[in-house]
Symmetry: D2
Subunit: 331 residues, 4 copies
């Protein structure tokens, strides 16, 4: 009974089918019709013209996004526990050629305009100090919490006011939109770029980089190739993204994962360290309790000494959810 | 009838099966058993202990290899038409943090020890000049020609003598080994690292970076993550590589492609611009001749004004080969 | 009456003389005799064989040092208020090709082994996390406080134990040695590299990068040229360093600056925010008090809303010191 | 009798005086009045508004210029023997974060519009190929030859037409203007940035980076600090530049050097490998002839096996020039 990660989940059957369909005939690399269909498909989803590139990992999607918004001598403002800071092996430093991350604290890994101002306002406009060029927020956050449309719009507005680029790391964007129940566009707060994750949500190897200013994609295409992320058989990546948008498979998958998380959350009571607004649960559990759960066949990661992280996925089985719910209730 | 590129070819059915098999159960990202099996599988192939990392593109494989062999203030010596110089969008400059490529001429895109010495010997050991740190050769070359074991060994020996790292770009390494009929180890000339290509040879999205000094892989792992090339569902990449080695599928595929190329080559006579030693043909063809071929349903790329490049693949159909052979003969 | 910065001070007359002496005859750039004399002069000072390069700024000296100790995918551990973090315009990100700074808190901008362990121990040996490669400490610290020989030796020992490089930013190293009264070697705690500052201490444009492992300098020479820091008329920089070591001019200058600071410190009482162990004073002063001092002709920088930074230099006049001492006493 | 390099020459007495004058009083680093006077002084010289930053080396001046004109994923087109390619230790790769140099041949190290087109036109607008972002030419060229105003204007026009930045490496710009006898502005051909050299022309440690679009300087200031090239006592660099412009000392020095070269050139006849249009002579001289000259007390560098490079400077003595002239005539 696996609650380790949504990355551990299998690939959705419809994604397999779409990839196989893309295999039917030989297809040249350049301008395959799947990749060419991305702009229209995502433009329809967002209700405005966007340009979209696939990338094989969330780290690449984030860093190619940020490279569009921050020059090497600038800085990206982000939460101190942002994925780009703590989990990407220094990739932003690589892709941004040494640009800096300015770290900001905040509840449940969410930024607020006030916290951002406290970080940015003391920076003198002086060559000795690295100037902020962009802001990056994660929707849903690293603790599985969602920015409400008005919250993320306020951050976006602040970015614009200060002349900063605005990036949304949406590794679990689907879970956020499913939970918020809003239009996808309202969940990005006027972002310039969005890393729209599909791999944790039933995909195999394709994330979408959404450029809300399509011209940005033209430059990003060069950077993607330069980073070794242009796959010659990219049609198999594009096919994953396209099928996800068809009939809102992405939303269905996310809703399933969220529902599983919500069911478990209901049994956790005061054990919850953060509101459960997506598919992650951070649960206070003593070492003995974690041991007891593991003995019953549950797998998950420890979160420090006294807690665990449980993650549900599009394919988390109902019986596993029930079992976990009961097991926690009985601790 | 597609002779555009081996990149345009479909994925081999056994590769699909292996990927599906890796899908049977949820699997955590870290240390999945497919990725963990790579070292042993490739060590068996090469008859010595190697360490292997997957990467999604040949560009990434080359650049992660080279980053192990060349510091930012150094240079890589390569052929002036090497893929790393002309076709990777400047990726070596990115991955090697501004290291330089020193370009050397040579017949059929092959380097010789003499040509290398002519390029390297005049470099003064002086801080004004960028010092060579590594050599990179392509096996088979960009013109589909193979280094004989003794040829590549001579280059490897020269590299060692000068204290330079030695990298082999093996985007079509399978085709080279199939043509040479030698032990794979004899085709790398004592290389430190090999980019062993599978995507052009029936794979989907996985190349192998082979480190003949396994300790190098430990550092390269960090660089791979930092470049956004660590896929969370990497088991699907590892599965592609493993199945390719099973029963020598990689060699069978390459032999099929080579045989198709050889059959067409026999009809080309003096039109051949380079010996056909792998699965690429560079054929003198006037604009009218190319037009005639295209009218008959053949697709391929122009190579300058008076020639074309034809590429065969693991799945090039016998009837297409016969048709092309006849069509060229009748020009 | 200038207490703004030791950078604002004039150049010592003996430094001028030495530069003029280096001007007497035309001298080729390569291997001028002044630059060649540096190794011996500094080896004599430290009582062991070192190799020394000049650099025109402390930022360049720090970053060329660190580039010898930290690879692009690694991190440097330093104080959260270290000069390399807050005052160098992101230069470490540039010179280290995107390596990270891991920030550690500590009283008076000093690191302790415990604080370092708290920062470093939680880093998993996992490609998702940037691994520490080096430690950098500032002697005297950014708040003008000195590591005692045993304190800095403990940090150096910890670095060695963890396999980390150890760098000392000695922008005010002279002031530290003068205050500690110890052998210069005892003030570096077994460092691999030292940025030995002279510009704040009466020089014009030359700092020394001291490599305690001389072989490191051979590579650093290439990096210095690559950074555009190899001056063709470098003899004028070397001459500055050599004259500073002659008759211990560097120590005399530092003692003069320290003595001026100590005299003012004696008048500050509880106003002192940090012990005065070099030539900087951080003094609690209300806006009104600062205004009063400025009205009397003193210049200095504010330090936040309720304090000021006063810096003395080799040439701070005794009457200015007396005046400042009196003025503070009378507030 | 030194003909090695103009870098080997001493510093002009008026430069010394100006530096000493800048030493008269303590001066804060930020916005010293010498540095602040640069824009006006150079704007007067060029007859239009420019912004100017000092830098301590020509390499830094070139690379900071180019970083303003070329993004990391782009390329700079330059002569295959350009200083930035062969003599800067890979600094452009460092400052431009891995951007590429596209090398173009040309007589006497000069580019022509035709040669440029031949290099640039075949580059497909395709992510696999690095796109040109800027052109860099050297005035006077690496072989001491000058672009006539109409020649450099044609290159500048081509750059504009193609949307490329245009940089002039003017390490010996003074010698070029002196020889051309034209307005300085006419010698730069509509450049965006000029590295205006003073060090080879009697300065000590200051070159000027001239931005013909002053807004570019605002960003370059950040890059200069980030590269460790912001000197805290920068007033001594600014003072060098200012005195050079006073009364056209820069032109007088260059004229003296050029005249010395011209006098020697007159004795060289067919031995001259390139026209002598500045202060460098490339002279066919057999090993025996070079030995004979050295025996007579002349120092200079070999240029390959059968030639020598002679360089004159602002302070080359008339008797040395006569002696060299006679010695060559008598060979």
């Amino acid at each position: 009974m696996q609650f380790l990660s949504d990355n551990a989940a299998s690939v959705h059957p419809r994604v397999w089918e779409a990839m196989r369909a893309a295999d039917a005939t030989d297809t040249p690399s350049d301008g395959d019709r799947w990749s060419q269909a991305l702009d229209a498909a995502f433009s329809a989803l967002f209700g405005r013209e966007v340009a979209v590139l696939w990338a094989a990992t969330g780290t690449a999607a984030n860093c190619l996004s940020l490279a569009s918004l921050c020059q090497p001598h600038g800085a990206v403002v982000c939460h101190e526990e942002a994925h780009i800071e703590v989990d990407e092996g220094g990739a932003p430093g690589f892709y941004l050629h040494g640009a800096k991350l300015i770290l900001v604290p905040g509840e449940s890994a969410k930024l607020t305009p006030d916290a951002m101002r406290m970080a940015v306002d003391p920076i003198r406009d002086d060559v000795h100090q690295v100037q902020p060029h962009a802001i990056s927020v994660t929707q849903a956050s690293e603790y599985g919490c969602c920015y409400r449309p008005e919250e993320i719009a306020a951050l976006g507005a602040l970015a614009k006011e200060r002349g900063l680029g605005f990036h949304v790391d949406g590794a679990r964007f689907a879970n956020a939109v499913a939970w918020l129940g809003c239009d996808p566009l309202d969940a990005v707060g006027g972002a310039d770029t969005l890393s729209f994750g599909f791999i944790k949500n039933g995909g195999m190897s394709a994330e979408a980089i959404v450029f809300f200013d399509p011209a940005m994609a033209d430059v990003a295409r060069y950077r993607r190739k330069r980073a070794g992320h242009l796959q010659s058989k990219g049609r198999y990546l594009a096919a994953q993204l396209l099928v996800m948008l068809e009939g809102n498979l992405w939303l269905d998958n996310a809703r399933a994962a969220n529902a599983a998380a919500a069911e478990i959350a209901a049994a956790c009571g005061d054990r919850l360290m953060h509101p459960v607004e997506a598919n992650e649960l951070f649960v206070t559990l003593s070492p003995e309790e974690r041991k007891a759960l593991r003995t019953q066949g549950f797998s998950f990661y420890d979160w420090g000494d006294d807690a665990a992280r449980l993650v549900t996925a599009w394919n988390t089985r109902a019986d596993h959810v029930s079992a976990m719910t009961q097991a926690i209730a009985q601790l």
